[in-house]
């Protein structure tokens, strides 16, 4: 499934953690390092599989675990309205 960052968001990253600002609602969201890794991969245009590979590499976890985590994190971000399907 292809996901993209929703329009009208701004974000900054510091020490591996992202702060996302919903420009419409003026609301802030904080992401931990693993969520930020997935976020940055999607922001760069990667799909979930590539995001999982980035997770596996950065945090030295197995592929299966990385895929599960990436899907779970993406689902949470989509539920918050920060990611949308690009299909």
């Amino acid at each position: 499934m292809a996901l993209r960052i929703r329009d009208h968001l701004a974000y900054e990253v510091l020490d591996g953690e992202a702060v996302i600002l919903d420009l419409d609602a003026a609301r802030y969201y904080s992401l931990n390092r693993t969520a930020t890794c997935v976020w940055q991969a999607i922001a760069a245009g990667d799909d979930l599989r590539s995001a999982a590979r980035a997770l596996a590499s950065r945090f030295e976890v197995g592929d299966d675990r990385a895929v599960a985590d990436a899907q779970s994190l993406a689902g949470e971000l989509e539920a918050l309205g920060l990611l949308v399907s690009s299909e």
Binding site: L14, E17, A18, V19, L23, A26, N32
Partner: protein, 308 residues
């Protein structure tokens, strides 16, 4: 009669009384003009709302862009038209002149500076050994109390309520007002402050004046974010990453921004500040914030880099 003051890095010539040291020399960066009084209505305004902040008990303000100006409207008090190099003030006939001055010097200057691109915190600051300790947070967080306590411990006051930052190299701040405005619960603190001149304010606070930092600008050593806690101990920890950025974003002087350009720029500015200076969370019950020795406790925490 107009008077020129040095405040927040600006030479301001103002018809409205502003709390700041007299400026020498020539030239002005900002002119504040008092126009004929006129009734100032409520929040139902035409135009694009750039920011809006309503208080639970009524009152608040709105920053509105209409066809000819950006206006900061404080219902039943004043309307400020913010332009390049100027703020035009229309006071409601029923509003006390001191209250108008307070709003111009606070929300008015904060809005003008923010629209000009400057990062502006809701903060007090004191100077210690040539650097600023900034205390930032929303209303009621204890900023003025902490600043007054640190001044009583020997620090010089840099500003209260509004702090303009400069992010050219490092993080620098500009000197502002010469007095802290204490809420009622801190009046007892003011009674014990040696050397502080005290006077009541139009908004039912107590203004306590302290020696002012001598230079108009100084580098920021740390930002302290108070968090009132029930536990009877004082805990200082360094905020990292996203927590530091969000803490700063929650401490802007003008609340309720909706303008995407300002929001986006501010987020980047707070990220820059958090990357360059330590942001420390100070958790304590309110009464601990007023205890002698707080300055050394905080200065020591800054020197040691306070554990995250």
């Amino acid at each position: 009669m107009a008077r020129t003051v040095d405040l927040h890095g600006l030479r301001i010539r103002s018809d409205v009384p502003l709390e700041g040291p007299a400026a020498g020399g020539d030239g002005t960066d900002l002119v504040v003009r008092l126009r004929d009084p006129a009734p100032v209505g409520g929040h139902d305004l035409a135009g694009t709302v750039l920011a809006e902040h309503r208080l639970p008990a009524g009152g608040g303000y709105a920053l509105v862009a209409d066809w000819d100006a950006v206006r900061l409207v404080v219902p039943r008090v004043c309307s400020l038209a913010l332009g390049e190099g100027r703020i035009d003030v229309r006071a409601d006939p029923s509003a006390p002149v001191d209250l108008v001055g307070l709003l111009v010097g606070g929300a008015g200057l904060a809005a003008w500076l923010t629209l000009s691109g400057a990062p502006v915190l809701h903060a007090a600051a004191v100077s210690v050994d040539g650097t600023a300790l900034v205390v930032a947070g929303p209303s009621g967080a204890g900023k003025s109390t902490i600043a007054a306590r640190m001044c009583a411990d020997g620090a010089a006051l840099v500003t209260d309520d509004l702090l303009r930052l400069d992010l050219g190299e490092g993080v620098w701040c500009h000197r502002g007002t010469r007095a802290v405005r204490l809420r009622r619960r801190a009046f007892a603190l003011a009674d014990g402050l040696d050397g502080a001149q005290r006077r009541p304010t139009v908004d039912h606070r107590l203004a306590a004046s302290f020696p002012h930092h001598p230079a108009p600008q100084l580098p920021v050593g740390a930002v302290i974010v108070p968090r009132l806690a029930g536990e009877d101990r004082l805990v200082i920890r360094r905020l990292g990453g996203s927590d530091a950025v969000v803490a700063l974003a929650s401490a802007t002087r003008i609340q309720g921004w909706r303008d995407p350009q300002v929001l986006r720029r501010s987020l980047h500015q707070w990220r820059t500040v958090a990357a360059r200076v330590p942001v420390l969370e100070l958790s304590a019950p309110w009464r601990r914030l007023a205890e002698p020795g707080l300055l050394e406790t905080l200065a020591s925490a800054v020197r040691s880099g306070a554990a995250p």
